[in-house]
């Protein structure tokens, strides 16, 4: 099969971000216009004079992908070309949760017909693994290092899907490249809605997470199985229905009956290594387990399998 995102791009070995990019682009097909925020995706796909994009694509800046996408959607609408292409914005977690949050919120509030996909590798990877609002609790990055006083990032991960859902948009989902069928379904389903759609995809980064490049898909699965990255969708409108319908129904798409302990997920990643090396780490791991337990309760996941 010919991919619409061509080989020859410069993503790292085992990159867990390019993988879901290819999944998303192939699922959507050729009739779409893509906007990339500045970040790894844009850099590994568009180094002049080459381009991995077999679909129309534009990169403008770091924080404005949602607004550029709004401009494209408006132009298509006003010139009667709406059926020509879907509009899809692609951004990292920094371009979504932090510097891009304002533009994203504006786009969501206006109700523009855009699918916004956040590739959540949980840090600013393109600039060398700095902490973002989406970096999880206790993960070490170059700006939230483990040190004498700090044990990695001492704040919890920003819940962007909830922020997006608070805008009452038709469709919000989380996904993981460890669950390709689920991811594909969500992309397809999202595109059946008119208006803003948001999908946040966990994107393991071997370099930033200090994990084995061969394990990226496995890690993407484990994140779900331990309850730290629950996969769900929030549907505010039934398919093909326009208008507003309250706060939306949350549906867990990947049910986990027997949860893995978070340790199994954490120990595969160097960014959590300090938790295993330092005596204070034990309590922190317990806190992370509590986060997973809270998620389990909220999303109906089962007990941790002993």
């Amino acid at each position: 099969m010919k991919h619409l995102f061509a080989s020859g791009h410069t993503a790292c070995v085992g990159c867990g971000e390019v993988l879901p990019v290819i999944m998303v682009v192939d699922t959507i097909g050729p009739n779409a216009i893509y906007v990339s925020a500045t970040g790894c995706i844009e850099v590994f796909s568009s180094r002049y004079p080459e381009s991995a994009w077999e679909v129309p694509w534009i990169h403008s800046l770091f924080e404005n992908a949602a607004a550029v996408a709004s401009g494209i959607a408006s132009a298509l609408k006003i010139s009667g070309r709406k059926n020509e292409a879907k509009v899809v914005a692609l951004a990292g977690d920094g371009g979504t949760a932090d510097i891009g949050l304002q533009a994203l919120s504006g786009m969501l509030e206006r109700g523009d017909d855009v699918l916004f996909v956040c590739f959540d590798n949980e840090a600013y990877m393109n600039t060398g693994i700095q902490r973002s609002g989406s970096t999880p609790f206790a993960a070490a990055t170059t700006t939230s290092p483990a040190g004498k006083l700090w044990l990695g990032k001492m704040q919890r991960k920003k819940n962007v899907p909830a922020i997006v859902a608070a805008h009452n948009v038709p469709y919000v989902a989380t996904a993981s490249p460890g669950y390709y069928a689920d991811l594909k379904n969500k992309v397809k389903k999202a595109l059946t809605f008119e208006g803003p759609k948001y999908i946040q995809i966990l994107s393991p980064c071997p370099l930033g997470w200090r994990s084995d490049p061969a394990m990226s898909v496995e890690i993407a699965k484990l994140a779900v199985q331990c309850g730290l990255y629950p996969l769900y969708e929030i549907v505010t409108r039934s398919e093909n229905q326009s208008g507003f319908r309250g706060n939306g129904e949350l549906r867990v798409t990947i049910k986990v009956e027997k949860r893995k302990p978070v340790e199994e997920y954490l120990k595969l990643q160097g960014r959590f290594r300090h938790l295993f090396d330092k005596p204070e780490g034990k309590a922190v791991i317990q806190e992370i387990q509590t986060i997973a337990d809270e998620n389990a309760e909220k999303y109906g996941y089962g007990e941790v399998a002993k």
């Binding site: 050729p30 009739n31 779409a32 216009i33 906007v35 844009e42 850099v43 568009s46 180094r47 002049y48 004079p49 381009s51 994009w53 077999e54 679909v55 129309p56 694509w57 534009i58 990169h59 403008s60 800046l61 924080e63 404005n64 949602a66 607004a67 550029v68 996408a69 709004s70 401009g71 494209i72 959607a73 408006s74 132009a75 298509l76 609408k77 006003i78 010139s79 070309r81 020509e84 292409a85 304002q102 533009a103 919120s105 504006g106 509030e109 206006r110 523009d112």
Partner: protein, 391 residues
Amino acid sequence: MKKTVIVEGSKAVSEAVKLCRPKVIAAYPITPQTHIVENLSQIVADGELDAEFVHVESEHSAASVVLGASATGVRTYTSSSSQGLLLLLEVLYNLAGMRLPVVIGCVNRAVSSPLNIWNDHQDAITARDAGIIQLWAEDAQEALDMHIQAYKIAENKEVLFPVIVNLDGYIISHTFEAVEIPTQEEVDSFLPPYQPEVYLTPKNPLSFGAFADWNYYQEVRQIMQETIEKSKEVILEITKDFAQHFGRDNGSLVEKYKTDDAETVVIAMGSICGIIKELVDELRNQGKKVGLLRIRVYRPFPKEEIYQALKNVKNIAVFERCLSVGSGGIVANEVKSVFYGKEKQPRISNFIGGLGGRDLPKDLFRGIVERAEKEVIENEFVAVRTELIKD
């Protein structure tokens, strides 16, 4: 039918924008640009213009929306002032590099801090290096005319640069003046629909806004410089073409007001030129050979035009309403560089004033002319309240 009406400057600009038929408008309110966004919203709300009005949450997004829309092949408009222009400056560089022909109205206002909502030229001058064409209006009529010309300049295949049309906050934007509003037919016959050669479409999947390393980046910038220099010819042609269509000749890249035999010439931009022209007339009546050179097109900077117009004058007095803190006059430095290494070397003095909306009475310019006739003055602030400056 063509009609002359008494309207506020912002209304004149909004009418001009409407007549140019942009398809996507995105703007965020800021004093003193607000009346333009409000008028345009009403125009779209009333169905007088078939356009999408995108209600953005910031100027950064306003510029980004028009960037996306322009790249998708439609004509666009945005407008701002002061802090708003600075906030979208990042996008402005981006628009210029991608060579997207968006038109931006800038209602000129001082930049904070201190917070100040009144007129000076600091905002647009700060954007001078971005790779945009900058037109500077003297009155509401010219602001209207320049908006119509701006689209034709920006979209010309030999140009393809964003264009900023500058009009002084309050003095032009909020003042009622007699303005001739052209008809839709007239504008349509002057300005053809926007038909870009490349744009975002699955029919021809191209990549826009690539990442270019040191092997490619510099040449992109060099081509920008060379092309924007060449755009001077296109701007001149379009101004002539405009005069033929509308019967109003706005002149060249610079307006030469009684400069031909002048001994002393003031250089300025914007609405203040009206007062300086009055002064020139008065001084001429007293037998003094004084003139005004008004910069209409600030980017590309009209070096050759300034040299040719002023090579035989004795004294030049550059007056500007902006400041490079740590250097001084900005326009003055550029004017000085025009004469560097040239055969003719007029004496150039420069004055800074009217910042944050301070009033600029005619007599002030009388003093500037007198001072420049006597000696060479560098970076002198005028109409200073010395009691506010303590050692």
